[in-house]
Symmetry: C2
Subunit: 127 residues, 2 copies
Amino acid sequence: MQTETDILSTTFAALADPTRRAILARLAGGEATVTELAAPFKLSLPAISKHLRVLQRARLIEQGRQAQWRPCRLNPAPLRDAADWIGQYRRHWEESFERLDSYLREIQHDQQQDKEEHDDRDPHRPR
Amino acid sequence: MQTETDILSTTFAALADPTRRAILARLAGGEATVTELAAPFKLSLPAISKHLRVLQRARLIEQGRQAQWRPCRLNPAPLRDAADWIGQYRRHWEESFERLDSYLREIQHDQQQDKEEHDDRDPHRPR
């Protein structure tokens, strides 16, 4: 049995590929067969199947058992766990955004003051 | 320049390792030197340095420039982007949780009904 830590690693590794993320995006709209999933990509069926195996091992997708029509569907549970893990750092990116925001406001304020000082200058004073 | 898609892949690949996630968790508590980061792991300094390089390439950590004291610190911006990407699927895991929840309530309700029917039975009726 995989530990929780290893499951997270498997989830993140499965997400570390644009084609696999595009497959998940497609399945978010509803189940699809392997052929339907392969259609938008310039990839061979074996190449798509390899990506699907990675997604299946990570339990991000499930595939029906019927021999001919084996639609794949999204299993969102590992995504929730990945979101929970990343969510621990929310405070950090919010704080760093606030710092950037207040820095930009400060610059804007300084520029405004410079402009006002400039406008207040005696216009008749020789430059 | 990396495309946005590739940056996400690099972020997820960097997160797909328990040691690297533990390093980020340590840095969430404040900046640390490489030696301090290596301490809790039974890993050599070169092994830790390799993990740090992966995290740096993914811009998840930044390292000071001073030759002797080069503390690493967390850069949370790529985590925010990864959270945004996963967040698109929130609706899916919430719905699937609700389905599970209503299924469990249904089972509980059925069991309660069975129990009540059983309790209502005439106790003198031969079994």
